[in-house]
Point group: C3
């Protein structure tokens, strides 16, 4: 029962993260934010309903040839009206039985936890759609997202019968499945937006104006930091020694990245660091540690966090050069770069004892801990899985957005994006 | 110990709901809100002190003839100075022993959980008092409320020796005990306010102006949604399979109601849905599922949630026609209508296996699940109990408010309610 | 495992308190608060990193002659890169073994909990530095604070081999170690600030202007109240009957102090109480009960809370007379006075049965419960320990701030503090 209690509480903390991303948008971009907040409430509601409808099965039911979960395994809506189906009342979800992960989670617990993950992933994607994409278009996109786009990487990497999992790929709490894939999905949407913008004669993508609101920014980072207490330690899917270590690695990486971020800004960029730098520093540390929080030591977490700060500042400078999209909240330099960097670091920083304690006994030591050939092999697997997942998610997201664009005659706000710069978007949304 | 841990954490989440209702008022009605927030802090403080003083006993001690809990059973203040009285240190509260519910909760755990329930119920009542009733009048009302008015329905329906419980009535987490009764108590106060307003020559009750604050509204709904994670699943009073199912039914109903609310507004009312519709949709789903979250399947929760959205929109239109009171935050169309509707649905949607798992083995299947005669009988009991409780609470609330009005020469702000429309009330309160 | 689960969740709640103190500053003093919030984020990050680096050991490792924890006991960063050192993965922290407290907490759990305590203590100190002290100066101060200043009192009183603990001194959750010591450290910084201000020709210390923000104030007190659910009940370091009692004593004291605060303001000071009085009342109740929440009955908690309200109002009037410092958020009348008052009350209100249940079997009954000579002896020990700790912390804090002042040529904002009154400080900070 302790495992279920732990994962359920962690699930609640992750649940709160989606709306917290809405508050983060508001904190970074300004208070004319009706649609930012409405959008994250919509994501939360859609995630729960469509994951319960079918998405939980496509991701976490026994897979069809390792490729996708059996969509009708548990019955629609977690067993529908039946009290006996689906392992909901008295049973254990199949992959939590001793044959697989052996953590005894019930269908209900595991559903809440993973639906919250799916939800927050789309919230990350949504930050690039902000104030550009019509709400109805985003609503339709979200249905496809929770039935298919989010679910494939989860089925491949987190489902014990998925083909990448079988190949040996690991991604502890979603450096790729959440953060990397969110970046790929976001790029898909940004491409369709740019096609529309270019089609209407624009030379570069208009940028939304930013007006920081420090109170909301602080509440957002507090809720997100607390959410990550559920996100990473909950991903052990059990309450054991490893879960307690993951709390430490997660929080240390966040703090280290915060400190390195501030210091880097001060001494290398020669700028005065402010609250936004602090927030981005904390977030980058949390993102970087996500894919390997359960595989590494506290000191490694510190090192990874210290790298996180400068990595974000550098990546942000790089992505700011592009003129065909705007990414004011930092999906690409933060979540995509940080998540993928963390995935690669698995092959460097993993220590077998930590990985084993978190339920990943097949993971070898990393290169920095004498992993040698096995670690190089692991690196190859991680790179391969990353490329496949990023390409798949980008294509699916692009195709989905393109079809919606085609059928709704545009996903941007009536093609009047130029006006975005002068007037608040919220007043133009339908 | 797991049961105590679960209910204690759930109690904390419910505890936060009272002040969250204050933030909801502020979010819906505007930021000149000193007294809204002060009021909900006052409710929180009063609830804890007066429930500990005597109210916990009048509700949850062994009843006198099924009518009211023995007010001196545990000793004042949970055993007072004594370390041995009250089952506080090392014992189990009498109704949590195997003879009754068998969940082994201690007096302390059960007290915190139920005091938080009493508190949030008055917070709901308080939304109609907002900016109309003098704070001192509300303070005095709150004492009577926590010693008697909240407690009688709880003693009758949730206390295993209560007369309605004995008759077979069930109300899982308070569709009647909390939401319905809050509506009845609110109507009692509104009636006295109207008597005063009519007495001072008004033709209709002045309305407070509304000025939505989207950030506070969002924080409020996030905290309330998280609070309901404690409210419903905690009401199993144990951490078991049922508690995990209740998380799912609760969250699915909220999400479904959100989606149906938005869709109904868009396609039936032909209006653009906004953040307020979203918030009301989520709330209505949470309210409707409350009295039967532990009795139904996930698919039933979805259906109930889908009904919730249109039900609120319709009820709101109905109550808006009345001119003798104003209910800007929606106590009546939301909490009263939603709560009572959910209570009636017990006789339709209950499935015995779910009810049994949540500790209610005597509850028969509902009419939709082949309950037949037993379900009709259950419907009769639920209707009877509802009528009795609503009438009792209304009369007690009206009488209390009337006596306070009489002794303080008016509970409204110095009879100058007309002025409410022009100037913020906060500056007029004493 | 239940103990670890409980303390970890409590640790998360305490973790949130540091940034909540930032929101409290903003709520009380106004929204030009970039640096208030940045400061509390900085404190959070520093606390985790420097406590992990060495501070956790100086406080909680086996002490060197009872004076300071062995700084290299667990290895830097909680065992560094090693999976076996430090009791992190599979072991129990030495003082949590049956030889000492016997609660089986792991190094990770105990670290998170105590790092959060250290963090919030500095957040309290920081409220007097607000808008006066340069951020870089405060950064350097924080490193010394988390390596030495916070740690000595903890090593002496909370470490089972500390010399004051051995002498019999007890301080349940930090009336002295947190609140009293925060006051002493704050006085140290205020003294250096005053030396600088006097040196620049000022006759009295300039005061920052206050502009209450009711929303942020409410969120802050809600988060702090919820944080105290972790702070006090978590300090049992186990989930047992005592932890559940401590929830009750903590929440009752807060509520009682709230009510007495409001009543005192209304009837004795003849003023209309407002939200700020409410917030201060709740806080004072929480502070006063902190050092003895696990030693007393619910009724005693009520009495202590009732004393808390008037105590704060009186103390605030007293400290307002001083012209050489300004303490707008109430570190001294609230945390210092309340914390030390509570410590003294240990010798009056303790009941052996409650103390024993919380793991303090050597504590005798207080004077009000027939403790007699043993209670007087306990009073002597508490007074002695308080004097020693307050003097030590004041001197260390003063010396640290003085050295920083000397090496940075001033810790105040470029000696232009006079201007603080007219313009927002945030724009002047580097």
């Amino acid at each position: 029962m302790a495992n279920n209690l732990w994962v359920l509480i962690c699930g609640l903390l992750v649940f709160a993260m989606t709306i917290s991303v809405g508050l983060l948008e508001v904190g970074e971009l300004g208070e004319e934010f009706g649609n930012s907040l409405l959008k994250t409430m919509l994501i939360t509601g859609s995630a729960l309903v469509f994951m319960a409808f079918i998405g939980f099965d496509t991701a976490f039911a026994p897979t069809i040839d390792g490729f996708i979960g059996n969509p009708i395994y548990g019955g629609l809506f977690l067993g529908g009206f039946s009290p006996t189906l689906g392992g909901l009342l008295g049973g254990v979800w199949w992959s939590m039985t001793p044959t697989y992960f052996g953590t005894s989670l019930t269908a209900g617990t595991y559903f809440l936890f993973e639906a919250a993950f799916a939800s927050v992933t789309l919230a990350l994607v949504g930050v690039v759609a902000l104030r550009k994409m019509r709400l109805e278009a985003f609503m339709i996109y979200s249905i496809v997202y929770f039935v298919l786009i989010w679910n494939l990487p989860a089925a491949w990497i987190w489902n014990p019968t998925g083909w990448l999992f079988q190949m040996g790929m690991r991604d502890f709490a979603g450096g790729l499945v959440v953060h990397g894939a969110a970046g790929a999905a976001g790029l898909g949407i940004l491409s369709v937006i740019w096609l529309e913008e270019k089609g209407s004669g624009l030379k570069e993508s208009p940028r939304v104006s930013c007006k920081m609101s420090q109170g909301w920014l602080t509440i957002a980072i507090l809720l997100l930091w607390m959410g990550w207490f559920g996100f990473n330690p909950g991903s052990v899917l059990a309450f054991n020694y490893s879960a307690m270590v993951v709390v430490v690695t997660t929080f240390l990486a966040a703090s280290a990245s915060f400190l390195s971020s501030m210091t880097f800004k001060m001494f290398v960029s020669k700028q005065t660091p402010g609250l936004l730098d602090a927030v981005n520093g904390v977030l980058m540390g949390l993102i970087v540690i996500t894919p390997l929080a359960g595989f590494v030591s506290p000191a490694s977490a510190l090192v990874l966090g210290l790298i996180g700060g400068p990595l974000f500042v550098t990546a942000e400078g790089y992505f700011n050069r592009f003129k065909w999209f705007s990414d004011p909240v930092g999906l690409l330099p933060g979540h995509m770069v940080g998540g993928l960097f963390g995935v690669l670091m698995i092959a460097f920083f993993t220590e077998h004892d930590f990985a084993s304690a978190s339920g990943n006994p097949t993971l070898p030591n990393g290169l920095l801990f004498g992993g040698g050939v096995a670690a190089v092999q692991q690196l190859g697997i991680e790179v391969f899985g990353t490329v496949v997942v990023m390409a798949t998610v980008f294509l699916l997201s692009f195709a989905t957005a393109w079809v919606i664009s085609w059928s709704m005659k545009g996903i941007t706000n009536g093609y009047k994006t130029q006006a975005l710069i002068q007037t608040p978007v919220s007043s133009k949304n339908p």
